[in-house]
Symmetry: C2
Subunit: 540 residues, 2 copies
């Protein structure tokens, strides 16, 4: 049993595993070299082996960085949208490429809101301007419309050395922040927006994590608690695990179109106050993965609740242009806040997030985004600017793209007609696909589906036979993971199990994007239908 | 004294400040709402005032997020390269724009390695390919060379939906990682590189922080310690503060061209072992801010030290193409590691970082970069992939650019001649400016300057008169900050004080990039010379 101490180098791999086991047997947890040395010395004592092993030997037993010795917060991070099922999908794609025979010829990845990957074409105007910014020699090319050139010139003039290859200000290029502020003012019917409150970011994820990082502190019962919806977008749970914050779940009401209920917020908050310091309330509207669009009244209630309970509001509004259902409308948290009067608009602290990745443009790869902060303490703002400066700046091509999103072609400009045609085509197709998805799923026995009011996902509930649940447990899988893995293997469709987003105990769901082209979406829905029938039969 | 409890809303700002003071008086530190409520209740008790204030009033006294209640680690973050002096420079630029009279007409920002901002032109081939990727309709344009089109097609084929607007794999586009691996193999004389060990990143900073995040854990004496050079690039100290790691300083030897001395490493390590768990050794080669190029022998010594002392090696090699001095050569840590034989190459854990921001391309705005990991535990690799997946992917335009950097035009391709001409022009100009800078500075009384062997900075030592030091202290400034602020105000030149990078107690320095065009650099050096003489005279 003293092998791990007296060995030198041969067969290190197996010995490492052993070292790990020893650690676990002696209390597990993080194993620093110091702890390991102690473990070894303890084992040597009483066996007459003291002094037989030297320090150098102990220190080379195990690598510096192992699962046992790494940051435990990182281990707790989970991100289902790119989790094991997607890794399996990539594996299957590889097998297909190498000529493997499967019951399908391609894997359809409906796991992620990745519009271009699903065949959506970029907006021509945006890409023209980006090409002009990348290679300004094209500014002399008569093939490019004047408005595209004008936009490119304006962006380049705002860049160091007139190049998008220069660093920008860490908060983002000033004239782009001005354009963002104007865009927000227009969206919110004239409520003022200050460019100093706009921070450009590397996608919305970056800004969300940054704000959480400012907020999370304290130890034990004073540790910051952050309220997130269940089901949630797993960036939130991942960021909270990483920061070691306390995750406070509030459940959306599936029976009422995934609406948010203030009573449930109160329940969650008061339970959480027993063991942590709740300081933040996160809202995703329109909802991801649940596709609901919040009513104006509900937003008002949430704001009132945040004020009463002294919570910082984080409004994830990246799907603000993705609203499809009759009678639904996007209301920004900021607009409602300001309409509630100065008692609210002067006090409630808030950050709202937006991105170039969703809406009608779907430019995920550029990692563009911004946040607007409201009522952020000036001293904290200085800290925020300092913090973002460490990463120098968000990618400048993404900033340029964001500028075009917030300042698209105007009616008197040459690119307007094409722009509007392209934009409308994407949004109407999405609306059509939202309807189609709800309609078809609700005809399938064992699947029930709320309307996809907005965003780009459906989160239908699936009824699983008890035998399937037992089988899953036998295999060590959560039941909806088992379901999704089988669907992937049998039909080549990649979805994300509901367990990756959270769901009420004993219920099962999956998330699917509605992004595939209509004809392909119909095939996907049909295949899921057939699978569901087959699966139910197999396990009943 | 019970004002903070009984007030309601008027004059909130001043009351906030008061609340802060109260907190400080009662022990300071983090002030959660709970703590505040307690403070108030204590103050009310014994004054017959119990019950006069209600909970709601307490909770609205202070914003949720204040300097007192925010994450204390973030407060500890400092990043001098974009610190107060740069904010002042931006302010002065604004004043000049508004017509203010100054002793200069422009601010020259020599504070940051931002080549394009200093007038360096992008490499034509790179930008052509980026334009083609952004707007693939240009693939039909006969003005673009065939090799640029071929590169663009290859990148687009590797993108989801053939669009750089799709998310990529979180680790980076596979064919780009393959190109990176081939580039490394070629650089290192055939030592194999596995694309699975390559992780593309959002600039090198992103990858550096990610690896540190995996490594830092433990509490108290078990807290991870990270060895960094002094002077250092302040990303390191900032990331360590943010993660709450213990910073272990080892001093470079200014008298020997800022070389690294193993005795000093040993001293720093053994002192640190008294109070933390040192697990990581960071090296920057070529050096930032100090411009030294490490000898092969020194790298070998460092690797031996890392192995003996069980340290994870982080090799920041973003300036690998920036070597100017006669007799100096870049040796990658990986190459030396493998040349030391399997005893080292199979055991020493390492990550090496590279970026598109420096070298001859200077494409900072694209935030492209990669790291290669060596001997990383497979289980930790899985954790790393999970962690990077939360942010979805590095910006795809930056990935595309990186592909061009590692796979530039070849001798038989149409763009080769222009590419080589542009590349050589940049690198020879830098070599010339490196020599010029050392030469001129060393003629100035009170300035001594090591040769700029590589990278793109000089870190000269300045002798400050005691009266200037006293004056600075009177103003509450560190002496070299005082010096740099005066230089900025009087000459419009923005440098970074040595204190922002760390320096031996009682010595003073500044960092200046050598990036300004040669003629402008001469003006800058002349102005600093004059300022130094004037400043010395004023305070002697």
């Amino acid at each position: 049993d003293n092998k791990i101490c007296s060995m030198t180098r041969p067969n290190r791999k197996r010995q490492r595993a052993k070292a790990g086991q020893h650690g676990a047997a002696l209390g597990g947890g993080i194993q620093t070299p110091r702890v390991q040395r102690l473990v070894c010395q303890l084992k040597l004592k009483g066996k007459g082996l003291e002094g037989k092993a030297n320090t150098e030997t102990f220190l080379t037993i195990s690598p510096v960085l192992t699962l046992d010795s790494m940051n435990p917060n990182v281990k707790r991070v989970e991100y289902a949208v790119r989790g094991p099922i997607v890794q399996r999908a990539v594996q299957i794609e590889k097998e297909l490429k190498e000529g493997a025979k499967k019951p399908f010829t391609e894997v359809i990845k409906a796991n992620i809101g990745d519009a271009h990957a699903m065949g959506q074409k970029p907006i021509t105007f945006f890409r023209q301007v980006l090409a002009l910014c990348s290679y300004p020699a094209l500014l002399e090319d008569s093939k490019f419309p004047e408005d595209a050139k004008q936009r490119a010139r304006r962006i380049l003039e705002a860049c160091g050395g007139h190049s998008i290859g220069a660093y920008s200000a860490s908060q983002g290029i000033e004239c782009i922040r001005q354009d963002v502020a104007r865009y927000i003012e227009k969206r919110d019917g004239g409520i003022p927006s200050n460019p100093d409150n706009i921070y450009l970011s590397t996608g919305a994820s970056d800004a969300i994590v940054t704000i959480l990082k400012l907020l999370v502190c304290g130890e034990g019962r004073d540790r910051t608690g952050v309220m997130i919806s269940i089901p949630q977008y797993p960036l939130y749970s991942a960021a909270l695990a990483d920061l070691g914050a306390v995750q406070i779940n509030y459940y959306l009401d599936e029976d009422n179109c995934w609406s948010l209920n203030i009573t449930e917020l109160r329940r969650a908050l008061s339970a959480a106050r027993e063991h942590c310091n709740p300081r933040v309330l996160c809202i995703i509207n329109p909802g991801n993965p649940t596709g609901q669009v919040q009513s104006r009244q509900c937003i008002e209630d949430v704001i009132r609740f945040a004020k009463e309970e002294h919570l910082f509001l984080m409004a994830d509004e990246v799907y603000q242009d993705n609203v499809y259902a009759e009678g639904c409308q996007f209301h920004s948290f900021k607009k409602v806040l300001f309409e509630m009067g100065p008692e609210y608009s002067n006090t409630v602290e808030m950050a709202s997030f937006h991105s170039t990745s969703k809406c009608y443009m779907g430019e995920c790869g550029f990692r563009g985004g911004y946040m607007e902060v409201i009522n952020l303490d000036p001293e904290v703002k200085a800290q925020l600017i300092k913090l973002v400066s460490v990463r120098l700046c968000p990618p400048v091509p993404g900033q340029a793209l964001l500028d075009l999103v917030v300042n698209p072609p105007q009616p008197d400009e040459p690119s307007y007609a094409t722009f509007m045609k392209e934009r409308t085509a994407v949004l109407s197709a999405l609306a059509e696909k939202a309807r189609l998805t709800e309609q078809i799923f609700n005809t399938v026995p064992g699947i029930t589906c709320n309307p996809v009011q907005g965003a780009m996902y459906t989160f239908p509930r699936i009824t699983l036979p008890q035998k399937a649940i037992d089988k899953a447990k036998e295999l060590g899988l959560v039941p909806d993971m088992f379901y999704c893995m089988r669907l992937l293997d049998e039909e080549g469709i990649c979805l994300v199990p509901g367990s990756g987003f959270g769901q009420r105990e004993g219920t099962y769901h999956f998330r699917m994007t509605i992004l595939p082209p209509t004809e392909k979406l119909k095939v996907v829905l049909q295949k899921i239908r057939e699978f569901q029938l087959r699966f139910t039969q197999e396990f009943s």
